[in-house]
Symmetry: C2
Subunit: 369 residues, 2 copies
């Protein structure tokens, strides 16, 4: 696949860390929430190996926040998600599919509860702010909705605890998964969550002050030398291996949350009010006709720029692979695919065309084992 | 400015024409509505010169449509824009700023009225579909909202009438500016509007069938050889010279429509109901504190990846340039800038840093003359 340069502009926003990641050797970008998101540094595979062994600092400012505050903020946030938030606690992060009136997915943010009347939706790549503003206006909710100047730095990898405790103190090791708290470093307070878009362990630091973030970025490298810290970014291979889904890649506004395996975040029995609830009850009763599954393909290379069709031996379409990469661990191409009924149960072999040749693969469960 | 490759994925959607524009020599991309939008072919300046003299075919599939149909569709569409659409006619295109409850801009689509209860909002780079879905759900409107499979081909340039009439017949020359109609070519019907994101004249063809669009793409080149047709794209130099604004570049959800010079599309005296109306009345009464203006800078080069600050002789900030390019016509860098009060009236000289040197420029009216 030929490479094409991206033309920067104000519309594809740079982050407070862009100068730094460019001097640390970023080698390609994607665009996410109208912002530059690094896609590779040394190479996809080299970044992957480093991430699984050491610690990386990621510029994930493109994970933008939608801040919802005010008297009706809880009601609005609950209206947007099928996950029951009625027992949610301050200081916790909730992974929560957002659903529209038709039962289709809008986004899959992490919802951070900062106060009973203050929420940050840390969003995937769609303009949740306009969904929230539309709902708030239509329902005459008393809320304020804005995109605050928050630019996340993630510290990811097995040595992230060592690096973070060196800066923020040993207490940070006690922070539980999907909890957040403010921690001090050199006289400044940082909002730190134990979370991140890898399964290698780590933290996300929601930086509210650009200079404090840039300072922190530099200190992470200074303090991290002994842990072989490097600049990194969400890694396509690692995130597929870990079955971390990507809105726009693996599912979008044409898919419902059952198809995307969000069952455990769909609380239809609860008495909370959310958009699309009746539609989701109907879908659950009727059952779904396709479902996100894993695929493994006997090949060592795949370029994905749109979904690729999967066929059975009789040339029936069994589904479409939506994200894929060669995995050095599985020694195969692995991918996330929307598989039609009944093929997801049969787990038969399929055929796929890559670079004008036919390869075979199998459907498997997620996460990969 | 160093070039970085863009990593393609399903999330940065290709268009039905991507293979074609790549074989026609596209040399860089931007991302627009989660889709690849070509940014240059031969070079920005070479593309510009060709566009102003001949005719180009553009893949502007990234101008996505939000289709709103149903009983309450007119009410919803009107609610989203401060432009009075009560006298709007079928077959017409309306450039219309979309406004949120706070009086801030959401997008600046062309609204195409296909029927009394069928509208296509041809959008700039923000997810208007979720704004519409939120408003519809909140207001319990009886509407259907979706993104149809429409992929626009634009034919732009002074020879576009010649090329288009060769395909669609002489009748197409009679199509008025911002009107649309279905025209036949080789047994297929195409939705053609006289519009486009240049001031060189031309058409936008809203293609509803991928194969019909790909065929048309090829025929436009076959029929256009005598007019020196080339593949092109919205051109940064030409669009700034023509003062065609870009959502996300020149204005965004932090700006109100008065600041962005949309005065003639703000119908506060009308009795139609739209979001942010009271807020806009208040802003009009109080007056604005900044305003989009032109700037001309005595230099031959500028790289824009974020806004750049403009200073007066006493180091006061007078504003920020948001889009800019070297114009071979004006033999200066020209740009679109948000200028603070009172500097937009004084039109004094300012200073700006480009590549670590200081250059001088002046504020001027838009469009440039």
């Amino acid at each position: 696949m030929k490479n094409f340069p991206i033309i920067k502009s104000r519309r594809l926003r740079s982050t407070p860390y862009t100068d730094r990641i460019e001097s640390h050797g970023v080698s390609s970008y994607t665009v996410y929430n109208h912002m530059l998101l690094p896609a590779t540094f040394k190479s996809l595979e080299s970044d992957y190996k480093h991430l699984k062994k050491f610690v990386q600092v990621w510029d994930v400012a493109a994970e933008r926040q939608v801040e919802i505050t005010g008297k009706d903020s809880s009601e609005l946030v609950q209206l947007m998600t099928c996950r029951d938030l009625s027992k949610s606690k301050i200081g916790r992060c909730y992974y929560a599919p957002l659903i529209d009136n038709e039962g289709f997915l809008v986004n899959d943010p992490i919802i951070n509860k900062l106060a009973e009347d203050k929420w940050w939706l840390s969003i995937a790549d769609s303009d949740v702010i306009f969904f929230a503003k539309g709902l708030a206006a239509g329902n005459k909710f008393k809320v304020e909705i804005k995109e605050p100047n928050v630019n996340i730095l993630a510290v990811q990898g097995p040595l992230s605890d060592d690096l973070m405790s060196k800066l923020f103190g040993e207490e940070i090791r006690e922070l539980k998964f999907f909890n957040f708290k403010y921690f001090d470093f050199r006289g400044k307070k940082y909002f730190v969550a134990r979370s991140g878009w890898s399964k290698q362990g780590g933290y996300e630091i929601y930086v509210e002050d650009n200079t404090a973030g840039q300072d922190l970025y530099d200190y992470l490298f200074e303090y991290g030398a002994e842990y072989n810290v490097k600049a990194g970014c969400p890694n396509l291979i690692e995130r597929i291996e870990s079955a971390l889904l990507s809105y726009g890649n693996d599912f979008d506004n044409r898919d419902n949350p059952f198809e995307a395996n969000f069952d455990r975040f769909i609380n239809l029995e609860s008495n909370v009010n959310f958009l699309g609830k009746e539609k989701l009850i109907e879908i659950k009763q009727n059952g779904i006709n396709r479902k996100l599954m894993g695929v493994k393909i006997d090949h060592n290379k795949i370029d994905m720029y749109c979904e690729k069709t999967l066929y059975d031996d009789n040339n029936n379409i069994i589904g479409y692979v939506r994200s894929a990469a060669y995995s050095p661990t599985f020694k195969k191409v692995i991918g996330i695919a929307m598989i039609n009924k009944p093929y997801w149960q049969k787990k038969d072999q399929f055929r796929i065309e890559i670079d004008e040749k036919i390869y075979v693969g199998t459907v498997c469960d997620l996460p990969f084992i």
